[in-house]
Symmetry: C2
Subunit: 247 residues, 2 copies
């Protein structure tokens, strides 16, 4: 019991788990998880009702008491109203925990302020004037650079990050203007990628499920032909990719 | 003694220390530091010969044996030839350690593949076919987003990162085209920033020395007037900065 609990004011911390390798969490984030009374993690629920969570796969490695882990599962469809309702319900649960003086952690894969769904809970906490602390993490594209031993950007390079593109059409102008281009969450353009890479004829790094036992990296177009491109996937173009990357 | 040492082949690991808070290193990076026989850290030497190192300030917190710590101090001037010579000398030292079977860590503040000087050593290791492992870290702009409780980017936002700009002239077009703009290492445009922010009239987050006891954040132009802008400083423009950020 810490002082905060004794005075019946809880603590809310958002913890970024990093890209997938359980050891790529920060020391601060791991300490906060170990101290928490309750840990909420994001996941998804398919149309057939199946639950899955990349965050839970990471959390399983820390020896945390399972009864402290609570999933926030978002229905996998494009209906933002459903998702909004899940965030509303989650917000109410967490507000009750906070008012009960609990030490609550909400975690997220990758970083917490960089394309993270945590933003939807954060806006609710801020609207309710609740105090929240955020602990940063390693974004997936940063981990991909390290894994591929690639300087993503140096000195005065300009870098652009795109996510969930609707088509590859706009990529040519970005490739012409920026030394480094990162495209995250490729599944929206999965049917166009191979053709685009063939036309672009530029060194690239493709990475999926970075930091997990299923991680896959390649810089060879051949290895992407016919491949199923998952949600957690990215492409990096950089002038520092000098030779095709071998894995 | 691990197997690698027994067979007289060393290990070289590049470890990202993160933005400044000693607890924002990854668990993996800290473990590697603790195992290392020798730790090289970057620093600078002023024209009067004074040594300084932001990395060393972070390393001091981990209880590592001081005799294992070795500075690589780059002269603070624009002469890239001098810096190149320091990297050449460092490369030779580290190659000797590696050939002697030592476990060597080279560390860097922030991340290791994102605007890091580690890239200059990496190209030398790669040219010499030496095996290196890189351990990613939290970049400063990512840590700034968490500290300011700010979603830097969400969903399909486009984000651009600029570093060491030569002037603010090009910023207007970027601000018009991208939801999030990050500008790192502001000291090159320190005399133009206040004027630019007044003209732009857009919510911003300014951050310096993130994660250190001297960290400073503001979203108020008044607080930047007359301020000395250090090398480790950044600006974030994001459509998610809804109200001026208070610190």
């Amino acid at each position: 019991m810490n002082n905060k609990k004794a005075s019946h004011i809880g603590r809310i911390t958002g913890v970024a788990l990093g890209p997938g390798d359980p050891e790529l969490i920060t020391v601060k984030g791991l300490n906060r998880l170990k101290e928490a009374d309750k840990i909420y993690f994001p996941g998804s629920v398919s149309q057939s009702g199946q639950l899955s969570s990349f965050s839970l796969e990471i959390l399983k490695n820390y020896g945390l008491p399972p009864e402290r882990l609570h999933g926030l599962h978002i229905p996998m469809n494009k209906n933002r109203q459903h998702a909004g309702r899940v965030y509303d319900e989650a917000f109410e649960l967490i507000r009750d925990d906070y008012n009960a003086g609990l030490d609550v952690v909400i975690c997220t894969e990758g970083d917490i302020s960089f394309y993270s769904t945590f933003g939807y809970l954060l806006e609710r906490f801020q609207a309710a004037n609740m105090t929240v602390e955020l602990i940063a993490g390693v974004p997936a594209f940063i981990a991909a650079g390290a894994a591929a031993q690639l300087p993503i950007s140096l000195q005065q390079d300009k870098l652009i990050v795109l996510s969930q593109l609707e088509s590859v059409a706009e990529l040519n102008s970005y490739l012409a203007s920026f030394e480094s281009v990162v495209i995250m969450k490729l599944s929206t353009i999965r049917h166009e990628i191979v053709d685009f890479l063939e036309r672009a004829n530029r060194p690239f790094l493709y990475a999926e499920r970075i930091g997990t036992p299923d991680a896959f990296f390649t810089s060879q177009i051949e290895r992407l032909k016919g491949r199923t491109i998952p949600y957690f996937s990215l492409l990096i173009f950089s002038r520092h990719i000098k030779t095709p990357f071998q894995v």
